[in-house]
């Protein structure tokens, strides 16, 4: 690096091998209490099914485990360290009180099959969160069972199919804009639908006349992300809904970007029939390095009979219980009731915000995205001039002339102390830089980001090699992904380096 950045300073971090390389017989991090029942003869009880050897499982002490994972952790970037501007991923602050309440004993240790009589706390949490999410979305009924966004999509489309089936014809296809997440078409395929692409217009929105032309009685639903993956609100949403409804189709909303709408507008009010939410995006539950998520699905009244079972309802005596007698239900999409621990965290977040906080949060998220847009306009190419909501998409058009691509710029951003933005998505923008600051960033942090992005743009002009070889400051330089895929090494074996 030519100059140090204001955001970050290099510092030493610890080397650490694989845990297996630390293992040696006789070390242990466990201690069991004395057995209060008679010892058993395992050979007699299990016969041929008895396991004698646990292979290469490690044998290490507690301090080694603590150091191992602590050292590993220091090799990660995290929201707690700084801005994490991954577009569409909504990397916002994960409040710590959420973690505390999720670990309260009755909440953390409740068994899913314990009697309803002693499950009223958990049921109340499910019910309260459901009520809040219905109010926020303007929908009529909800299931919290799906384990993540894509799982919510699956659940939603199963319900779409069941709805059409109940009318006598499940229909054949799902319309999906070319700007959509990959999960949308993958989900449609899992539900037995074919996928038809819908081209976006020059403003980055659904072309209403194209939709009109493609819409017919074979179309079960349109899967629409709103705001879409360009961060653009589909302004003709009412016409879109009308066109679908006129031919008996349904409007599915991918709620990945619901954080741009909470408290400002409700999908249920603009014609959405079914939608999923990502509690790990809009409602602050931690991403945890890739999960767990939670993907509740909210629907209009007409789709309620098809919700997965069980559903929670209030019984005659005022207590809450599970209802399994749902003859038209699509069935179960997961064991038990979903990622309950995430419900707890999402509800804690909603309670911490209240109506005013939720609205302010949305406003700040949109404010921040527009500040970044303003700061980088003219430095990076803005392929769509349409107003931005919670995220902004640039392209590498200017920098590509020097042979520098979006991924290179992203990798260089690491040297400046930031996590990269989302690269190369949405697919309709060649060389996309998709930036979502979220409401969690201060003006100072965003100014540092803008400064870093400008500085990289300048480097591209003056010294493109520095950008092409980035990152320069990390533990490892760019890794050989091609080799990893060609000859996969997916586990450690003794003697393996």
């Amino acid at each position: 690096m030519k100059q140090m950045t204001r955001k970050a300073t290099r510092h030493v971090n610890q080397n650490e091998g694989l845990i297996f390389e630390k293992s040696s017989p006789g070390k242990a991090a466990w201690k069991l209490p004395p057995l209060d029942v008679p010892e058993v003869d395992t050979a007699k009880l299990l016969g041929a099914s008895e396991r004698k050897d646990l292979g290469n499982m490690p044998e290490v002490s507690e301090i080694e485990i603590i150091r191992h994972f602590t050292r590993l952790s220091t090799w990660n970037y995290a929201i707690d360290l700084g801005m994490y501007p991954l577009g569409s991923c909504t990397m916002k602050y994960n409040p710590r009180v959420n973690e505390v309440v999720a670990r309260l004993e009755g909440i953390a240790n409740g068994h899913p099959y314990q009697p309803e009589k002693i499950s009223q706390g958990a049921l109340r949490i499910i019910q309260t969160l459901s009520d809040c999410l219905l109010e926020i979305t303007g929908m009529d009924a909800i299931t919290l069972q799906p384990a993540a966004g894509a799982h919510g999509e699956l659940t939603g489309l199963l319900m779409v199919r069941a709805y059409h089936q109940a009318k006598g014809n499940p229909r054949k296809k799902i319309l999906i804009p070319d700007s959509a997440h990959g999960t949308n078409p993958a989900t449609a395929a899992m539900v037995g639908y074919s996928v038809e692409n819908l081209k976006s217009n020059e403003r980055g929105m659904v072309e209403v006349s194209a939709l009109e032309a493609q819409m017919n009685e074979d179309v079960a639903a349109l899967m629409l992300t709103n705001p879409n993956t360009l961060g653009v609100f589909e302004q003709e949403i009412h016409k879109i809904a009308e066109i679908l409804h006129a031919k008996g189709g349904l409007l599915y909303m991918d709620g990945a970007n619901m954080n741009a709408l909470v408290g400002k507008v409700r999908p249920g009010d603009f014609g959405v029939d079914v939608m999923h939410l990502n509690l790990h995006k809009t409602f602050s539950t931690p991403h945890g390095g890739g999960g767990p998520g939670s993907g509740p699905v909210a629907v209009k009244r007409a789709l309620e009979p098809f919700l997965p079972k069980p559903v929670v309802l209030q019984k005659a005596d005022g207590t809450l219980g599970f209802e399994y007698n749902r003859p038209q239900s699509v069935g179960r999409v997961r064991s038990f009731y979903g990622n309950f621990g995430m419900f707890v965290r999402a509800l804690a977040y909603i309670l911490a915000n209240g109506p005013d906080g939720l609205r302010q949060t949305t406003e700040d998220a949109v404010l921040n995205a527009n500040y970044i847009r303003k700061g980088l306009e003219g430095v990076y190419d803005l392929p769509y001039a349409t107003p931005s909501m919670h995220e902004v998409v640039f392209s590498d058009k200017v920098q590509a002339k020097k042979g520098v691509k979006t991924m290179d710029i992203a990798k260089r951003l690491i040297d400046y102390g930031f996590h990269p933005y989302t690269t190369a998505f949405p697919l309709i923008v060649p060389g996309a830089l998709m930036i979502e600051p979220t409401e969690s960033e201060s003006k100072e942090e965003m100014d540092l980001f803008i400064e870093a992005m400008k500085s990289i743009a300048q480097e591209v002009e003056e010294d493109p090699e520095t950008v092409l070889d980035a990152p320069h400051t990390t533990r490892v330089s760019r890794l050989d992904e091609t080799a990893a895929a060609r000859k996969p090494v997916l586990r450690w074996r003794p003697g393996q380096d």
């Binding site: 068994h111 993958a186 500040y371 992203a410 890794l479």
Partner: protein, 458 residues
């Protein structure tokens, strides 16, 4: 709002920089008729102390201080304290999926180690980074078998967790994938004769669970032989991971679909848990879910990346092996730490304690009621059949802060007054003796028929 790092002056400055008069300008793209011009009807903003109080109340209403004999796919094992200490580090908790490998080596190496340990424990050659849970892992494993074999039906054992079977039915319904069910014998094991008749030239896989829903260890080798003879794959679901410490892993399986909750994941009223799929190397390209692989950087230094992404939805879209995106990474990290704590020796000793507690409990219950499926090996669950309705027994136990076994009537009406009991290393002899004593009391009495049957367990 305390999570928002901006002062009114900051907001004003930003608006000015953007060239907007007010925040409303930025929401102009939303058609006026849809804009929400009122407060959302959600509870008012609460202080942190109020939030903690609210959830503390809910915690009290949720089985606090009850001793439970429930298992059935969700197991109460001790969680070493270092699990939460380590996963609470912000660098794990608040990181995204490790797509940017250079600044995600911590998560990536942890996944690589997780995959390795899952392979060691299951006897498989490759394992993925996690699936949602055991039920969806089983369903995805069945669909994977369909892709591998090009065949289009599935046979599932009735002794697989009933909710796992329901999930498979949901997944299969629109894939043109008929699912046939094979029953169990009076040993609690899968009925091989019936399987032989059920399996066809179009069977992609036979899906069993071992230990199965009754806690019985299946004869995996015999089932594998039958499946393979007919050109089908064998998928083995494992719902109680601790069993792997003492029960031989299903070496003969082609795919293992596991629920790893027992390894340090709180019961949490059923989730989040941690599914995993493990398989043979030759099937890896048909496997769903994320995979971490070892590679080198430009200087030849060892490092890890997410790999074989061409199987996944963000690359392959409608042709992907699954639509799964977000998985259960942080929960897999809990599992990972747990496996390190117990390791090669501790896991076996832990499993042995589970076995001993269960053997003791089954023997005690057997003195006063019928313990079913006694002739096949079991791990930490067993089925007790009583003359009295288990719901009535449970209702009485509940008064003594004990949660009895899961009545099986709903899932297996043919078993009558049967309930599934579970003991782990956490179950004390005192609790077992108390439960047995109360059950014995009621079994000794003539049923009066006057008990109010309260639906106390589902």
């Amino acid at each position: 709002m305390r999570y928002l790092p901006k002062s009114p002056a900051d907001r004003k400055a930003i608006l000015e920089a953007i060239g907007a008069r007010s925040i409303d300008d930025l929401f102009a793209p939303i058609p006026t008729q849809y804009r929400l011009n009122r407060d959302l009807k959600v509870p008012r903003q609460m202080a942190e102390s109020e939030i903690v109080d609210w959830f503390r109340q809910r915690s009290k209403e949720n089985g606090l201080e009850y001793t439970s004999f429930l298992g059935a796919g969700a197991y109460m094992h001790y969680r070493p304290v270092i699990i939460d200490a380590l996963i609470s580090r912000g660098e794990f908790l608040t990181a995204y999926t490790p797509y940017q490998a250079e600044i995600s080596q911590g998560t990536l190496q942890a996944i690589f180690e997780f995959q390795t340990m899952i392979c060691e424990l299951t006897g498989m050659e490759v394992a993925n980074a996690s699936m949602y849970d055991g039920s969806t892992a089983a369903a995805e494993a069945a669909m994977m078998a369909v892709r591998v074999t090009g065949r289009n039906s599935v046979v599932i054992a009735k002794s697989v967790h009933p909710e796992y079977r329901e999930v498979l039915a949901t997944y299969a319904q629109n894939q043109g994938l008929p699912v046939a069910t094979t029953g169990y014998t009076d040993t609690g094991r899968l009925n091989l004769k019936e399987l032989e008749q059920t399996i066809t030239a179009d069977t992609a896989c036979v899906l069993i669970q071992s230990p199965n829903f009754f806690g019985t260890v299946e004869d995996v080798a015999a089932i594998a032989e039958l499946a393979h003879k007919n050109g089908a794959l064998l998928v083995v679901s494992i719902a109680e991971a601790v069993s792997l410490g003492i029960v031989e892993p299903p070496h003969e399986a082609d795919i293992v679909a596991m629920e790893a909750q027992s390894f340090g994941v709180p019961l949490g009223f059923g989730g989040p848990f941690c599914g995993v799929i493990a398989t043979r190397e030759k099937f890896v390209r048909q496997m769903p879910g994320r995979l971490a692989g070892q590679t080198t950087d430009r200087n030849g230094k060892r490092g890890f990346v997410l790999t074989l992404a061409t199987r996944e939805q963000h690359i392959r879209r409608e042709k992907a092996t699954s639509n799964i995106c977000t998985n259960q990474a942080l929960v897999a990290l809990m599992v990972n730490i747990f496996m390190n704590v117990y390791g090669k020796v501790g896991l076996r000793e832990l499993a042995k304690q589970n076995l001993a507690k269960t053997a003791y409990a089954a023997e005690q219950f057997g003195k006063h009621a019928e313990v079913l499926f006694a002739r096949a090996p079991r791990f930490n669950e067993f089925v007790v059949r009583t003359s009295e309705d288990p719901y009535v027994i449970n209702s009485r136990l509940l008064g003594h802060k004990l949660v009895g076994g899961l009545p099986l009537r709903k899932f297996y009406p043919e078993l009558g007054n049967a309930a599934l009991w579970c003991c782990t290393e956490m179950t004390t002899r005192t609790a077992i003796d108390t439960a047995v004593g109360m059950l014995a009391e009621s079994e000794a009495e003539e049923p009066s028929g006057e008990h109010v049957v309260e639906e106390v367990a589902r």
